[in-house]
Every structure is written in C-alpha cells, then in structure tokens.
C-alpha cells in the first residue's frame, strides 16, 4: 500500500514552499548553509568561553588521572612488591596507593565537574537557541508563515531542538576525549618506536577516507530525516487540529494511510542513516583490528630481531586500544552529532531568513500625544505574486475619525487593504501612511499601539476568558477587562459561564461558541484602545442580537466617547453584512482592485449604482 504523497498534497503555488530561502538545494547553498550554521554555533558558544576553558581543564585533569591508573599499577607491581616481600617495607606500596587514591579522587571530581559544567553550558546554549529561533519566527512576516506552516514551525522548535539536546546530554566529552587521545597516543607511539608507529600511521589514510565518505553520505541522510520528521509532524498537528472534520467525514482510514506513508518515509530515511553507521562503526573496527594484528606480528619480529623489548610491544598494543576505542565511541556519538548538525542547519536557515516586512532602520515618530488615525494610500500597488496584481495604484485618504466601509466581491482586494494597514505586507509600489508617516518608518511597537485588526479568525489561546481579553493590554486590571467586556456586550455571557471570567476556554477557545469567541475578540481589541480599528468580516458569525450589541458598542467606541481623541477613532470595516456597514460615514466599493464607487452610504444608495444594488439585495434578504 503506497500513497502518492504528491497527488494527495496537491500542487503548491510556490516551489520549495516547505523550505527557508537558505535551504535551496544547489551545492553553493549547502556550503553557505553549513558556514552559517557554524557561525551560529560559534555565536552560541562565545558567551561561555571561560566556562568552556574550565571544562576543557577538567577534562584534561580527568584524562590525565585516568591515564595514571595503569602506570600506577605497573609501579605497584614493579617497585612496590619487591621491598614488601624482601624487607617488609610497605612504604612504596603505601605511596603508590596514596597516589592512586589522589588520582581516583581527581578523576571523580574532574568527571563530575565536567559533566555538571557541560550540562549547564549545553542547556544554556539550548535556552539561547530556543529563544532566538522563537523570536525570529515571530519577527518573520505573515507571508512566510503562510507558506512555511505552523506544523513546520513546531517541528523546528521541538524535534530539531531535541536532536541538539540529545547531543548536549551526552557525548561532548567523547568528542573531545577522542581527539585528545588520538593526538597524544600518536605522539607516544612515535616516541616509543618509530617503525611500529609508522605501521600504525599507515591506517590513517583508510580512516580518513572512511570518515570522509561517512561524513558526506550521512549529512545528506540526516538532512533527509529532518525533513521527513517535519512532514510527520505537519500531518500529525494538522489532522488532529481538525479532528472534528476528520471524524465527522470518516477521514480516519485515509488519514491513517497518509500517516503510515509519511511515518514510513521517516523510518526509511532514518534507516538509511542508521545503516550508514552500521557500515561506518565496524569499518573503523576493522581498520583498528587489522592494525593491531599487523603491529602484533611485525612487532613480534622486531622483538625477535632484538630491535625492541617485549615491554615496548605490550605498551604499543595497549596504547593502540586507546587509539581506536574512542573512535569507536565517536561513531556511536556521530549519530547524535550528525542529526544535531542537520537540525542546526535547518535552524540557521530559519534565522537567516530575512523578514519580508522588516523593522525600520531609521524611524520616524508619530506626532506627540499619540496617533490621530489619519490614513492615506498613495498610489499603492500590491500583489501576493508578481503575476497577479490585487490592487492597482490605489489612492485613498481616510481622515482621522472617519469610519470607512469597504465592500465588493470576493477577490476585489478588501482584505488586502486591511492587511496593508496592519502592515502584514508592504506595498509593492507606493506607500501607506499613518498621520503622514510611512508605515515602513514606524517602529513595530508604535504601529501596533495605533492599529488593531479584528478578523473572523478570532484565535483564542488556551487559558481563561480574562487572560484572552487581557491579551489586548497585558497590564490591564481585572476591572478594566470587565469594563471592556461590558462595553462590547460580552459581560452577560461571560458572567454566566461556570467560572465567569476565570473559565478556561480550552484549546483554541473550543469551550465557547463561534459568536462568543468573536465577542471576546472584540473586547480584546477594545481593551487595546487603538486609534485605528480594522474589522475584517469580524461580525460574520454573530447572531442578530449580538450583532446589534456590537453595533451599538461600535458606535460608542468609534465616536470617540471612549478614546482621548476629539474626533474619535478611525475605522475600516469590511463586511458583507451591510448592517455593519450602516454605521459607516463613507463606503468604498472595490472591483478588481480598483475603486468604482466612493461616498456616504445614503448618497450611494440614492445614486443607484453598484452599492444601491447590493443594498437592495441585503434589504430583501432580511424579510
């Protein structure tokens, strides 16, 4: 049973929609990505330089103390036993045992200190990385999130972080120790017997070739596993997020089929990576064991020929073990290393993604006393894709305090106007200004204080009703929150909930009805007290009584009775229910990204144009 993953997913409008820009598949991009992930690692480790130095010292201490053990055994046997047996002099043995105790103590402290430190540094690095990636995701534009999807964001911040954590949890000491022993053992061997060392060093080209092959093959394989797990997570999160539709439409078997396919794809990707290790680890072992056998035989002849003593041969053989064994451990650990490297590359791809809607380099402040709410579109053209323009050189002036309704068919560009004012996107040409300042020159904080958008999405976080309203102004008191709810007409239903304002709304507000969520969203926006309020189909799921309540509340909110501004708030209302439009001072009818009618609603109805037709249809629908 196989599922054609591509047919099922459908054709995406953009190629490589799943990746960040840095993750293009050409060779140059791979090199760039690797370099940027290395820079990222460097910048993560730099703040811990001193502790890392201490850590390396502890590791050296542990290593030296560990190496002393066998030598002390040798001393004890060679120098300790003879005086004890012959003269009952336990002095040397006592000295050796004291030295041994010291070495053991040093090794214990070194190991414990090292592990504690490496845990601390590792976790600090993870903490730093998590925050950086999280912040960067929040900085990236809506356009990026729309194509990258939430599932992938989750995958980057959970599964990829897990692979790095796994590396941090165990293995760093192996990595350093392995490098350390390889170098020191090579040195000792050369000192002990150059010909035998030369034979040993013959194994080097093989080791290098094997490692190089493995490194190349496995970095491809591990990159594939990171992408495969992301697909698993995306499907998991999306299908369980829409579980109502899944169950109501008996989608389960098909979902299971798809899940099995992506799950199996992940298993295959992992299998390939694991099999590479299954070749690499014994490969190292073969080289090591062959070298030992050759050294044993050749060394035997050298002893027979009288070139070296037996002790040297024994020492060389012991050291050879120390030479190859850490490499063996390394291959165990390579697994974690490669998957962490792949994860780090993915993350550095995210971090190097430039926000399409960047924070301004030079900022212009709004006039003192806060925003007045005067908006202007100056020859604004915009399209989500270059070949499909949505707005054509739109000129629009919304004086401070005006309530503008935007109507038009689906695809006319109504929501685009809203998104441009909320600066989810920047215009392709022209400029949107607030109080005469280009939105691109305002700091994010200032823009968001001035402009709030309410959409029909009404996303609620899990938590209480009060917390969700309080999101509009995190420092608001309970009194202010309740006041906002009252002003919107949401207080009655909230007070009637079993826990009142402290009722848990459940995951994504599932405890509330769609209409109730919309009321909470209104209260949240009201609490934020913006100079410009954008309502994008924000009343569509309200029933008539609630809509009336909101209507009445909007009149008060927009009139300025509640805001400090003398002329009230500016509002852009997008609605297909013309009841919401009735409160507008002015109506703009859009068609194909162009203004076709513009004027006060009464005047437009009288003029008998398109708005008049819409208005008549709406009147008819009410009867």
């Amino acid at each position: 049973m196989s599922v054609d993953v591509d047919t099922w997913r459908g054709v995406a409008t953009e190629e490589d929609a799943d990746r960040t820009a840095a993750e293009a598949s050409d060779a140059a991009a791979v090199v760039r990505l690797r370099a940027s992930s290395r820079r990222l690692l460097g910048s993560l480790l730099r703040p811990h330089r001193r502790l890392i130095a201490l850590m390396v010292f502890l590791l050296l201490l542990q290593n030296a103390a560990g190496m002393a053990g066998p030598y002390l055994v040798k001393l004890g046997i060679d120098r300790g036993i003879p005086p004890l047996a012959q003269a009952h002099d336990a002095g040397v043995l006592l000295a050796v045992s004291i030295a041994f105790a010291v070495a053991i103590g040093a090794e214990y402290l070194g190991k414990r200190g090292f592990l504690t430190l490496s845990g601390r540094i590792g976790q600090a690095v993870l903490l730093d990385l998590r925050r950086r990636v999280y912040d960067h995701f929040q900085r990236l534009s809506i356009g990026f999130h729309e194509r990258y999807t939430s599932g992938r964001v989750v995958s980057r911040l959970t599964s990829d972080m897990d692979s790095i954590a796994e590396l941090v949890d165990g293995g760093i000491d192996d990595l350093v120790l392995a490098g350390l022993s390889v170098i020191s053992v090579a040195g000792i061997l050369l000192w002990l017997d150059p010909p035998l060392a030369a034979v040993t060093l013959l194994s080097f080209p093989f080791l290098l070739a094997l490692s190089r092959w493995f490194q190349r093959a496995s970095s491809v394989a591990y990159r594939r596993t990171r992408e495969a797990i992301a697909l698993v997570i995306v499907h998991f999160v999306e299908s369980l997020g829409g579980i109502r539709a899944v169950q109501a439409f008996r989608r389960e078997p098909r979902n299971q089929e798809i899940f099995d396919a992506v799950n199996d794809n992940y298993r295959e990707a992992n299998l390939r990576a694991f099999r590479l290790i299954a070749i690499f680890a014994p490969g190292i072992k073969v080289i090591g064991n062959v070298t030992i056998a050759v050294v044993l035989t050749y060394g035997g002849y050298r002893v027979l020929d009288g070139h070296i003593e037996v002790g040297v041969l024994a020492a060389v053989l012991l050291y050879l073990r120390r030479f190859f064994e850490p490499m063996q451990e390394l291959s165990q650990f390579y697994n974690a290393l490669q998957s962490a490297t792949a994860a780090l590359e993915k993350l550095s791809g995210v971090l190097s993604e430039e926000p399409a809607v960047p924070e301004p380099v030079t900022t212009t402040a709004l006039p003192a006393g806060g925003s007045q709410g005067e908006l202007r579109f100056a020859a604004v053209s915009f399209g989500y894709r270059p070949d499909r323009p949505v707005l054509h050189t739109l000129d629009l002036h919304i004086p401070a305090g005006q309530t503008l309704a935007v109507v038009g068919a689906t695809g006319a560009g109504k929501s685009t106007i809203a998104k441009l004012v909320a600066r989810f996107y920047d215009p392709v040409t022209g400029a949107v200004t607030l109080d005469g300042v280009d939105l691109r020159e305002l700091t994010d904080a200032e823009l968001r204080r001035a402009v709030i958008m309410v959409t029909q999405e009404n996303y609620l976080f899990s938590g209480t009703v009060a917390e969700n309203i309080g999101f509009g102004r995190p420092d608001a008191t309970r009194g202010e929150i309740e006041e906002a709810a009252r002003a919107i007409g949401a207080h009655e239903f909230i007070a009637a909930l079993p826990g009142g304002y402290d009722t848990d709304v459940h995951k994504r507000g599932g405890r509330l009805s769609a209409g109730q969520r919309q009321l909470v969203a209104f209260a949240r926006a009201f609490l934020a007290d913006p100079a410009v309020l954008i309502l994008d189909e924000a009343t569509s799921s309200l029933d008539i009584p609630s809509e009336r309540l909101v209507q009445r509340a909007l009149r008060t909110i927009l009139s300025g009775a509640s805001s400090g501004a003398p002329h009230g708030r500016t509002a852009i209302v997008i609605a297909h229910r013309l009841s919401t439009v009735e409160i507008a001072d002015r109506v703009l009818v859009l068609e194909g990204g162009r203004t076709v009618e513009d004027g006060p609603p009464g005047q437009l109805v009288a003029a008998g144009g398109r708005y008049a037709v819409l208005h008549q249809q709406w009147r008819d629908s009410l009867s």
Partner: protein
C-alpha cells in the same frame, strides 16, 4: 495501588508486544553482541600467547599463525558489530514506527471531548520525543543491559576462580553500586518525567504561537509572547540542568567504584604476592581481567538513565493509549446505508453536559425531524445550537435521553455508516494542507468527478476550477489562501457531496456575501427537498430554507413552528431573528 515507579516499569514492559515481531531479530542481535564481546575478550589472550610463546622462545614459526588468529578474531568482532547494528537499525526503527502508528490511530479514534481537553503539543511530544527515547532503549539500552550484566557475572566468576579472596573484594563492589543506582533511579525518574511534561507544555506554547501568529502580530505582542516563552523555556532549562547535575554525580560515582576497587585490589594483591599467597603472573592476569569490568559499570549509569527515561516515556504514551475511546461501535451495532434509511431523526429527552462538567448545556430536547423535512434551530449566541448539531454524527454522546435515526438509537448504529448517512458542515470550515479534491472528498475517496462537480455547484464553489491547478491545487494552511467565504463554500460542498440522507449544517453561509448567499440558497433548496436536514441559522434569509423552525432557549426547545407563525406569536423569536424588532427594542 502500585507505586508510580512500578507503574512506569509495568508500562515499559507492556511495550513488549511491539518487540514480539522482532524476537528472531532480537535473538540475532543478542547473539551478535555476545559474540563481538567474546571476540574482544579473546584478543588480549592471543597477545598473551604471542608474548609468552614465540617472543619468549625466540621462535618466529608460530608468530604468523597467532597474528592471523588475531586478525581473524578482529574481523569476527567487526562483522558481529556490523550484524548487530544492521539488524538493530531495522528492528528498532520498525518498532518505533509501529508504536507511532498506533498512537496516531488511537488518537483518531478518541472522541472530540478528549481533544478538547488535551493540548496537541503534549500529544505531539509523545509521538516524537518520547518515542525517540524508547527507540534508543530498545536498540541500545536493553541490549547492553543484558550484555553488561552477563559480562559482569562472567568476569566476577572468573576472578573468584582465579583467587577467591580478591574475587570477593571485587564482588563486594556491587554493594555500593547497588545503592548508588537505587538512589539515582529514584530521583532520576522524577526529574525525567517532570522534564518530559514541561517539554510538552513548551510544545503547546510553541504550537499556539505558531497558529496565533496573526493575532500576536496585529496586537504587537511579540515582546509579551517572547517573555512567556522565555519563562517556559527557563523552566525546561532549570529542570534539565538539575537533571544534568544528577547525571554528573551518578556517572562520576559509577566511574569511581571500579577505580577504587582497582586500587584496593592492587594493594591487597601486592600484599598477597609479597606474602607468597599469589603469583605475580596471577596478579597481572587478575588486574587485566578486572579492567574489563570498567566499561560495563561505567555504561551502567547511562543505561539506567536511558531505561528510566524509557519508562516515563512509556508511561506518557500509555496515558494516551489507555484512554478508552468512549464513542465506539457497540457489539452487534447495525450497519445502515443511505438507500435504506428514511432519514427520520428524533431527539428524545436529550440532555447534554460537557464531560467533566456538571452544568447542562442542553436541558431537555424533544424534537422530531420527519424524513425529508428541514428544521432550522434558532437561538442566541452560546445557547447550545452547535452542540446540538454535534450530537447527530456522535461527535459527542448525549448525557441522558437518546437520539434515534429511523427509530434506532444512533448509539446502536455502526459509527462509520452513521457518519456516512449524516453529513455536517461547521461554521468554521477546516481545510487541510492538501488538494481541493482531497479536501472535498475526505472520507469518501470513491467520489466521482460528476459528484464533485455537482457538490461544487450546490455550494457555488466552482471558483476552484479557476485555481492555478484546478482541483489539484493545494489549499489550506500551507496552500493557496482562500477567503472566509470561499472556505465556507468548500466546507458546504464537502457536506453535500454524495447526497447524504441527513444533513447537519451549522450556520454554513455566515461568511458569504448577500449575492452569493442567494445563489447558494437557491441551489441548496433543491438538495434539501429530498433530504432530512438540521440547520443552525442566524439569519432570516437562511431560515427561508426550513420547513419548520425551532427556538432553542435555556437548553430547551421553547417554541416550534413555521417562520411566519413564530414571528407573529413568539416575542423571543422576534428578538433573535428580526432586525426591525431589535431596532425598536
């Protein structure tokens, strides 16, 4: 009441059924691991022979042979490692995939009430991070637990055989090891469970911020969310650091014990040699054998940690797998088909409270919808209309009373067939990141192009044919973004696809503009003529589709009749549905 530790160990043990298909492979694995360990123990003995034999005798004849033997043993060891790793990669990954598959299948069977309660981040971390831990245990921890214990026993037995007083000394070291591992186990299991739970919470926060990114942006709450996230990651960080400290202490202890024993053996052995009770060669042999114990003991710390994590992970996984799906087929449930169903729907004394709450959302609903009839449910925001609609396809089960379809309690009907006969459209349309076609057909993969075309026509959603790749275009979160009205029309098309006998539509036209709404209503009216339908509505225009209207108020049906009747006689109905009444009020 079993202790939590026992429960965790028990849950890990329950995972053995996933190991079952791989018993043969596991035997291979263990055999290969034992053989490679054995070979590596033998190589030093060969070296001994070389030194004691040809080298000491000054005779090169046996040297090549012994060299060849060492080579052979070395190659044997490597090939055994190869076999172990090769086999283990497929078995461990196979088990991991099988468990993940079952978790997903189980989650799909669990009722909506479960998903309302559980954060998906917590579910996700169980299906990814926790499974990774278990995979590592099954592929390394378990094997080396067995091998290392076996090595330990063998070597200690050999040591006792060599010189029993020193052997006893070595055997005694298992006492501090036992205590060290016991206290380690006890603390570590707590720390690792805490960390796993906190990581689940973190995953939830991550998911919520990813889904709510528009909201966060439009309110400029980046800094606020960053603070919340920072607090949550700090929590994870602190727990992880505590866990690392615990690990550092225990691992250092596991390293200390064999080293201290070595020192004790050296002193005691040297004394024994000096007093002539042990030969020098004996001592050397003893010490080199004892050195073989260092790695198995050293690894014990890692293995215990790994086993503990696997236990808590198994615990967390079984928390999900042990939740019984409450909405399932009864034994002997009857299968129904659209053809055989008349479509008579009755609510008899239906009460409903959300699971775990006492407050009744629906107090007592009695309502009959005759075959082919369309009944609209009208009521104020939050009065339970959507809940009522969710009961028909059994997304929730009634708390008391019953709902019947053609006289049969819907709980006695096979779930899959019930949901085939009853189709729903929710007010909030869910689209998945996949092609339009898949989004429309969902569970009805056998739908023909004609059926799809017809459903799209009814919902006035033919705009999809104009998408860049027609109905093969990917929509949903990751695809082309559609407007609210477009999404809603797709969800409606999904519901009417294949002409279900019973339609449940929850305010399906709320996001449409007046013009489109009129067109959809016209087409929908034709579909509804022969279909039993329950309509949740907010607008007078949609009410026109219904034969009768029921007013839902305070959890009961307060009035029922035609739109005109209710408008004339019921003031509460006027308040909910009439624009003019409201304007006067």
């Amino acid at each position: 009441m079993p202790s939590p530790r026992y429960a965790a160990a028990h849950n890990l043990w329950r995972l053995r059924r996933y190991v079952l298909p791989y018993y043969g492979q596991m035997a291979w694995l263990l055999g290969a691991a034992a053989a490679s360990t054995g070979a590596s123990i033998l190589v030093p003995l060969v070296v001994q022979r070389v030194v004691d034999g040809p080298v000491r005798r000054g005779d090169s004849s046996g040297l090549l042979l012994l060299g060849a033997l060492a080579l052979l043993l070395g190659l044997l060891e490597a090939s055994m490692i190869f076999i172990r790793r090769w086999v283990q990669s497929s078995s461990a990954l196979g088990m991991e995939a099988a468990i993940r598959r079952d978790i997903y299948a189980h989650l799909q069977r669990l009722p909506i009430a479960f998903h309302d309660r559980w954060q998906s981040g917590q579910l996700l971390s169980r299906a990814t991070s926790d499974l990774g831990v278990i995979r590592r245990f099954l592929s390394f921890g378990l094997i080396f637990l067995v091998i290392n214990v076996a090595t330990f026993i063998t070597v200690v037995a050999l040591l006792l055989h060599l010189y029993w007083p020193l052997g006893v000394l070595v055997a005694v070291m298992s006492v501090p090891l036992f205590f060290a591992s016991r206290s380690f186990t006890r603390r570590y299991i707590k720390a690792s469970r805490q960390l796993q739970d906190e990581q689940g919470d973190l995953a939830t926060l991550i998911e919520e911020s990813a889904l709510g990114v528009r909201l966060i942006k439009s309110f400029g709450r980046r800094a606020y969310m960053a603070r919340r996230f920072a607090a949550s990651t700090k929590q994870v960080h602190d727990t992880a650091v505590g866990k690392a400290r615990l690990l550092a202490r225990s691992w250092a202890q596991f390293d200390l014990v064999p080293n201290a024993t070595l020192a004790a053996v050296l002193v005691a052995g040297a004394t024994a040699v000096a007093t002539g009770r042990l030969s020098l060669g004996g001592l050397v042999a003893f010490i080199s054998l004892q050195v073989m114990l260092v790695w198995p003991i050293d690894a014990l710390g890692w293995i215990i940690a790994n086993a503990q994590e696997a236990m808590t992970a198994a615990d967390r996984i079984y928390e999900v797998l042990d939740t019984e799906p409450s909405i399932v087929d009864k034994p002997g449930a009857r299968a129904i088909g659209s053809a055989g169903s008349a479509g008579q729907l009755r609510f008899e004394g239906v009460q409903f409270a959300f699971p775990g709450t006492a407050e009744l959302v629906l107090g007592r609903i009695d309502l009959e919808i005759r075959p082919g009839e369309t009944v609209a449910i009208v009521g104020a925001t939050g009065c339970g209309k959507t809940t009522l609609a969710s009961l028909v396809p059994r997304l929730y089960d009634v708390t008391a009373g019953r709902i019947t379809l053609d006289g049969h309690d819907i709980r006695d009907i096979e779930l899959a067939t019930l949901r085939r006969v009853v189709a729903v459209a929710f007010e909030e349309p869910t689209l998945f990141s996949m092609s339009v076609r898949e989004n429309l057909t969902l569970g009805r993969a056998d739908a023909t192009d004609e059926e799809i075309a017809e459903a799209l026509w009814v919902a006035q959603a033919e705009f999809v044919y104009d998408l860049p790749w027609s109905i093969a275009t990917r929509v949903g979160e990751q695809g082309l973004s559609l407007s609210g009205g477009q999404r809603q029309r797709l969800a409606l098309a999904r519901a009417v696809l294949g002409k279900p006998r019973v339609l449940v539509l929850d305010d399906p036209l709320s996001a449409l503009d007046v013009h489109t709404e009129a067109l959809v209503e016209e087409a929908l009216a034709r579909v509804l003529r022969g279909t039993t339908a329950l309509l949740v509505v907010h607008r007078p225009s949609t009410v026109a589709l219904a034969d009768r209207v029921a007013l839902l108020q305070d959890g009961v049906i307060a009035a029922i009749g035609t739109h005109a009747e209710l408008l004339a006689t019921v003031p509460a109905y006027r308040a909910v549905l009439s624009q003019e009444a409201g304007a006067r009020a």
